[in-house]
């Protein structure tokens, strides 16, 4: 009973705060509304007995949204004053597409005769996930790890202004490096 009630509460919170992302005027509120939506979804995933995934969703997404809000304040000069920002284009078509997608997906969800459950959930879901990842599905994890490492490198290259040649000189020998803000290690 409690499970059902909380499922519906989380569902309503998730969808409403998701809608609020595009409803509120301030971008900071938008990103924290999205964070709230993710928290609700994470808790729903907890209810669906996937503790690790649920908590990790909350962890990752709150962090991301915190970063996103800072990003917007820094680059877009958002101050807390609620500036009405209505930056949409092609609102009608987008709305139509969204409603269409919802009807299609909802019809699918309700009308498709879903098969019965195969198998039973493992006793320790998280343990099973860990063993799966470090066993049969290790390739997936290895690939994901490599992709994330590549993302870090690519992201830094794209976003960074200065290269090591700017810091250390053309022959990379300058010590300490020429930084506008010296670091704390004294390299």
């Amino acid at each position: 009973m409690i499970t059902h009630i909380s499922f519906w509460v989380f569902a309503v919170v998730a969808v409403l705060s998701g809608a609020a992302v595009f409803w509120v005027n301030s971008m900071a509120r938008a990103s924290y509304a999205l964070a709230l939506s993710f928290i609700a979804v994470g808790l729903q995933v907890l209810l669906l007995h996937q503790n690790y995934i649920g908590v990790v969703t909350i962890l990752m997404m709150v962090m991301e949204m915190a970063v996103m809000a800072v990003y917007m304040v820094m680059f877009m000069g958002m101050n807390p004053a609620l500036m009405p920002m209505n930056m949409v284009h092609d609102k009608r078509h987008a709305l139509a597409a969204a409603v269409g997608a919802f009807l299609l997906l909802a019809a699918g969800a309700v009308l498709i005769p879903w098969p019965a459950r195969r198998g039973t959930p493992p006793a320790g879901v998280t343990v099973a996930l860990g063993e799966e990842l470090m066993g049969p599905k290790m390739l997936v994890m290895a690939v994901v790890g490599a992709v994330i490492a590549a993302t870090i490198v690519a992201g830094v290259v794209l976003a960074a202004h200065r290269t090591r040649y700017d810091r250390l000189g053309d022959d990379l020998r300058r010590r300490p490096a020429n930084d506008p803000q010296p670091g704390g290690v004294g390299r």
Binding site: L59, N79, A81, T126, G184
Partner: protein, 309 residues
């Protein structure tokens, strides 16, 4: 849940214990501050007096503040602390015995990013915005070492459940053979509580930083949240590094409380001893020194764990 009344009762008890620890921390801090200032009253009544003062004070708002997010931010730290203690075992009781308690702690500690930042930004004041920036700069440096620091005990105990981690330390406390991880964890706790060396976000040089515009009940909740976070962090360290409730004579819950109190006292005392670490300098230390050190620690722990099985 058949015994939801029982769990509601124990939730209240846990919140009460956390509150008590926070008050004790504040008493100790008031005492140490008064002693350093020399002369004057002992400072032991400081927390009570501060509560009375802030309850009496008017709440202010600032021009064009995002009041909703600002208030959420200042109240958030307290909520975080309460959420953290739900997974901490006290003797044989745990409020919310989640099988991924360690990750739960991580999920809660990143909330500090949102809450402290919002408190700084929401007031629409330059000083508190700068405070928010400073917290994030610290955050970039402490967060990953903190997370990887918590990996070490989890690997050694082969579990993400906090109680299981505590039980795995019957022979040897984890703090003994993973000191670097413990150090990174302690650093992280001081940082999320914006405490001690990590106070530049609340620095007097920027008129109180994040707290510059807070007054009345908002300030009370924010400052109380900091003490509560410190207490919660100390409480979580006990099962992770300090052997949980293990100890002679006393029952488990008593040992857990004693250890928590001792660690909390150390945290409070550190504030007076250490100068602030400037965010711009600490950033490089976090990435170039702390993070690699913690990763090496994790590797060692993993090797030992594999070798033992």
């Amino acid at each position: 849940m058949p015994d939801s009344a029982v769990s509601a009762g124990s939730a209240l008890a846990a919140a009460g214990i956390l509150g008590l620890l926070a008050v004790l921390a504040a008493v100790l801090d008031g005492f140490l501050t008064a002693r350093a200032a020399g002369g004057g009253p002992s400072g032991l009544s400081r927390p009570v007096g501060e509560v009375a003062r802030l309850m009496r004070q008017r709440r202010r708002t600032t021009v064009a503040a995002d009041t909703l997010l600002w208030r959420i931010g200042s109240a958030g730290l307290l909520v975080m602390a309460l959420m953290i203690v739900t997974v901490v075992p006290l003797g044989e009781w745990t409020l919310f015995d989640l099988d991924v308690g360690v990750i739960w702690f991580n999920a809660m500690d990143v909330l500090a990013w949102a809450f402290v930042w919002l408190t700084g930004w929401g007031a629409n004041s330059t000083h508190s915005l700068v405070g928010g920036y400073r917290f994030l700069a610290h955050g970039l440096a402490y967060e990953l070492p903190l997370m990887f620091g918590l990996v070490a005990p989890a690997v050694a105990a082969s579990s993400l459940n906090v109680g299981t981690v505590a039980d795995a330390q019957q022979d040897l406390w984890f703090v003994v053979w993973m000191p670097v991880a413990f150090l990174a964890y302690g650093t992280g706790i001081l940082a999320i509580a914006v405490w001690g060396p990590f106070t530049p976000a609340l620095g007097t040089d920027i008129a109180g930083g994040v707290t510059a515009e807070l007054s009345g009940v908002d300030r009370l909740v924010f400052q109380g949240g900091r003490y509560a976070l410190l207490a919660a962090g100390a409480a979580f360290a006990v099962p992770m590094f300090l052997g949980g409730g293990a100890g002679p004579l006393l029952p488990g819950w008593a040992w857990a409380l004693v250890k928590t109190g001792a660690l909390l006292a150390v945290f409070v005392w550190l504030r007076r001893r250490l100068p602030a670490v400037r965010p711009d300098l600490f950033m490089e230390v976090g990435w170039v020194v702390l993070l690699p050190a913690v990763l090496v620690q994790d590797l060692l722990v993993a090797v030992v764990a594999v070798w033992r099985t």
